[in-house]
Symmetry: C2
Subunit: 435 residues, 2 copies
C-alpha cells in the first residue's frame, strides 16, 4: 500500500504522484526525516530552517546572543499583532501553551475577584475552555460571568452582544477569533467597534491561538487589550511558547491594584523581564527556552521578511497582509473543492463569510465513520488529520489544518494533496458515495 | 586572543590544549555548532543526541508516535524521583519552567486559602521565590506563612524546623534541595523523617530544580508529596519543560476539595491527561511540546540507560545512583582544586557537608571584580559562567554549573577546563594574587 514515487507532470504548479491506483499532488519537499504530513489544526508542518534552529546549541539565557534573539522576537511580536511601540503595551513570550494565556488574562485583568464582571462570547469548545478558566478568577461565576453562546457553527449576533453590554458593566469581554473546534471566525473588528461605542471601559481579550498569523488583527487600531496565541499554529514553530500582547491600558489596569495571583502568569513578574529583553538587556525571572525562542525568531523572519514594511493604515507588515491573502485563497479553494456536492461533506461553519482561513471543519456523510476517513488518509497517504472535538458533534466531523508553510510553500501542495486524499478516502469508505 | 588548537598529550585522561601562554584541558568534543561552553547552573551543555531530537519533525500530539514517547517519559520520570507506580502518585510534564512548579504546589495543595498554614525553609534566593509564590495562595501571608531563614551559606538547623512544626499545624512544608543562589544542599531525607515524626499530616514539597538528576531523591521511601524540577539542569534537556512528581496522598488531598485555581496549573486538568499518556492513550488539554518531550526522552534514556535496573533499597535505578556518585566526585575535585588557598576563593556554602553537587558558588577575593572574572573566561576560553544572584551578596561571587554531560562525558573535561580558566582568570585580573 506504499505510494509509488513516480512523479507526474505538473498541473497548476503542483507535481503529481501515483498512489496505488490514483494520482494525487506530491507533498512539499523538505530535508526533514520522513514523517506523516501533519495537517491537523496545529501543530503544523515547519520549515527546515525553523527545525534546524531547534537544535541551537546551549546559550546562557542572559548572555548576549540569546538576549539579542529575544529582543528581536519581542519587537516582531508587536508587528504580528499590529502594535507600534509608540502606542505602548508589551509583547510577552513565555514557556507554556496557548491555554496559559487564558490564565494570564484572568489573573491580571480581573483585579476585583469579588465584583468584576466578564462577558464571554462562545463559538465552541475553546471559547468554553476560556470561560471555564476565567470563572476561576471570580468569586461567584453565576453572578459575574455572562456567556453568550452561539449555536454550533454560528457566531453570536452583534446585536446580542450590544444588548448584553448595555445591561451591565463588564470589566472585560472575552472573544475567540477562530474557535478551532468549529472553524467559526468571530469578527473581532466589529465587536471591538461595538465595545468602544457601548462600553468603552471594557477590556477586550482575544484568543487568537488558531488565528494569529492567518487572520487580520489590528491591535492598536481596533483598541484590543489582550491577545493570546501559541507557537505551534500559524506562528509555525514547535509547541511550547505562549505568545501574548497586552495593551498599555491593560497593563496600567492590572498594575493599578495589588492582588494575589500565581507568579507564573503575573504581569508584575513578567512585564519588566520582557521590557528589558526587548531593550536588549538580559533579565531573569524564570529560564526561557533558548531553542524555542530562537526557532520562533527564524519563523518570524520567514513570516515577516527580514526588513518588514509596515502598512500605515493597518499597522501590519505588508508581508503579513500578503500572508493573510494567501491563506484566504487557499482556504477558499479547499472549501470549493471539498464542498462539491458529490462528496457529501458539509461545513461545520454555517455561513461562508464566518469561516476561518486556517482550518476547516467538515461533517462527513451520515454513512461514513470519521475514524475510517482518518485511518484511510493515514494509511494510504501518510497524512495526519484530526477528528472532531466539539462535544455536541465530536463524532460527526473531521478537521483539516491549513496554516503556515503547507499553505505558503510550493503552491500549497500539502493542502492539495490533503484534499485529494480526503476525497479518495470518502470514495473508499462510503458505501453510498457516487464519485 | 583565540585559543591555539594544538593538542597536547593527555594528563589524567584529559587532553590539553594551549591557549595563549597557558595549557588547559580541551573541551568536550561535540558535533554541535561552535558555541561558548555553557557552565552556568542551567541551562547546561546537551549531548548531540538530545539536540538532534529537538529537530524532530512535526507529529500530531495525539498520534501514536508521540503518545508512545510521552508514555515512556512519564514512566521514566517516576524512576528519576524514586517512585514506583504501585505506590501511586503521578508524574507531570508540561510546557513551562521550574517556576511553574511552585504555582502547581500552591494552587493544588493549599486547598483552604483562608486557613491552611505553610512552613517555608529558606536557603537563598530561590527558596524566597517559592515563598513569595506560595504567599499568593493564602489569604493572609503574615498569619499563614512561616519562614525559617538560614543565614547566607547555611542550612536551617533541623532542631529549628522541629520546634516550629510542634508549634502549629502546617498543611505543607516547602523545601529547596539545592538553592541555586548559594549552592547549599538541604538534607531532604532528614527533614522528611522529622516531619513524619512530628507532623505526619504535613505535605512535603521539594524544589529540586537544581538537584533532580544530581542529588538523591527517594520519593517513596522518604514519603515526599510534591517534587518539582525543570528540563534545563541535570535533566540535560533544553529549557521549556516543567517536570513534577505528585504523591497519591497529595493528589487525593488536592482533589478532595473543589477550589478555584488557574487551569494551567490544575491537577484536575492535568492528572487525567498524564495518566492517559502514561498508559499510552492520547489525551488532550493543552498541546504539549512534541520536540521538547522527545528530546527529554532521549536524555532520560541516556541518564537511566535503556533498561534500567532499579535498586530495591532506594527504588532508584543503579545507573542514576552511579550518576550521583560521578557528580559528587567531580564536584569534590573541583572544590579541592579551586579552594586551594593561593587562589583566594571562598565557598558561599559554609559547611563542606552542605555543599551541593551540581554547582559551586564561590566568593572572589575582595580585590577582584566578578565581571572581570566572567569577562576573562569568556574572552580567553569561550566559557559562560554566572555571577551572583543572592541579593545580599550578589556582586561578590561567581557560580559554576557542573551537571550533565559536562560532568559525565570525556572525564569531565569541560569542568576541568573551566577550573583551569577560573584560576588563570584570577591570576590575570587580581593585582594581589600570588599564583
Amino acid at each position: 500500500m506504499s505510494p509509488s514515487k513516480l512523479s507526474m507532470s505538473p498541473v497548476n504548479g503542483t507535481e503529481l504522484v501515483a498512489v496505488n491506483d490514483s494520482v494525487v499532488p506530491v507533498r512539499r519537499v523538505t530535508k526533514q526525516a520522513p514523517h506523516p504530513l501533519v495537517m491537523i489544526p496545529g501543530p503544523v508542518e515547519f520549515t527546515d530552517e525553523v527545525l534546524d534552529a531547534m537544535k541551537t546549541p546551549p546559550q546562557a539565557h542572559t548572555g548576549p546572543a540569546f538576549t539579542k534573539t529575544f529582543s528581536e522576537v519581542l519587537r516582531k511580536v508587536r508587528l504580528v499583532f499590529g502594535n507600534e511601540k509608540t502606542a505602548g503595551g508589551q509583547g510577552i513570550v513565555v514557556s507554556g501553551s496557548g491555554t496559559l494565556g487564558w490564565d494570564f488574562a484572568g489573573a491580571n485583568l480581573i483585579t476585583k475577584p469579588d465584583s468584576d464582571k466578564v462577558l464571554c462570547v462562545s463559538t465552541g469548545f475553546f471559547s468554553d475552555g476560556m470561560i471555564e478558566c476565567l470563572s476561576n478568577f471570580v468569586a461567584d461565576e453565576n453572578k459575574q460571568i455572562t456567556v453568550l453562546e452561539a449555536a454550533v457553527g454560528e457566531t453570536v449576533p452583534l446585536h446580542d452582544i450590544k444588548t448584553q453590554l448595555q445591561k451591565d458593566n463588564y470589566r472585560l469581554i472575552a472573544l475567540t477569533q477562530t474557535d478551532t473546534s468549529t472553524g467559526v471566525l468571530t469578527d473581532i473588528k466589529a465587536v471591538a467597534e461595538l465595545v468602544k461605542q457601548v462600553s468603552p471601559e471594557t477590556l477586550i481579550v482575544v484568543d487568537a491561538v488558531c488565528s494569529a498569523g492567518v487572520e487580520e488583527i489590528q491591535f492598536d487600531n481596533w483598541g484590543l487589550d489582550f491577545v493570546l496565541t501559541a507557537s505551534q499554529k500559524a506562528m509555525s514553530t514547535p509547541a511550547g511558547l505562549s505568545i501574548m500582547m497586552a495593551s498599555q491600558r491593560a497593563i496600567d489596569h492590572a498594575l493599578s491594584v495589588k492582588h494575589k495571583k500565581p507568579v507564573y502568569c503575573s504581569f508584575n513578574k513578567w512585564l519588566p523581564i520582557m521590557a528589558n529583553y526587548e531593550a536588549n538587556k538580559p533579565s531573569y525571572f524564570a529560564t526561557p527556552s533558548v531553542q524555542l525562542v530562537t526557532a520562533f525568531n527564524v519563523s518570524l523572519n520567514q513570516i515577516l521578511g527580514s526588513d518588514p514594511i509596515v502598512d500605515p493604515a493597518t499597522k501590519i507588515p505588508k508581508s503579513l497582509l500578503h500572508r493573510f491573502a494567501v491563506h484566504k485563497n487557499v482556504a477558499r479553494s479547499l472549501r470549493q473543492d471539498l464542498l462539491q456536492p458529490q462528496f457529501g461533506l458539509r461545513p461545520v461553519c454555517n455561513n461562508i463569510d464566518d469561516c476561518c482561513n486556517g482550518m476547516t471543519a467538515l461533517y462527513v456523510p451520515d454513512d461514513v465513520k470519521v475514524p475510517d476517513v482518518l485511518a484511510y488518509v493515514s494509511k494510504n497517504f501518510d497524512i495526519s488529520l484530526a477528528g472532531g472535538i466539539h462535544p455536541k458533534i465530536a463524532s460527526k466531523y473531521i478537521r483539516i489544518g491549513h496554516m503556515g508553510i503547507s499553505v505558503t510553500g510550493q503552491s500549497a501542495a500539502d493542502v492539495k494533496r490533503t484534499a485529494a486524499a480526503v476525497k479518495l478516502a470518502l470514495q473508499a469508505v462510503s458505501p453510498k458515495a457516487k464519485l
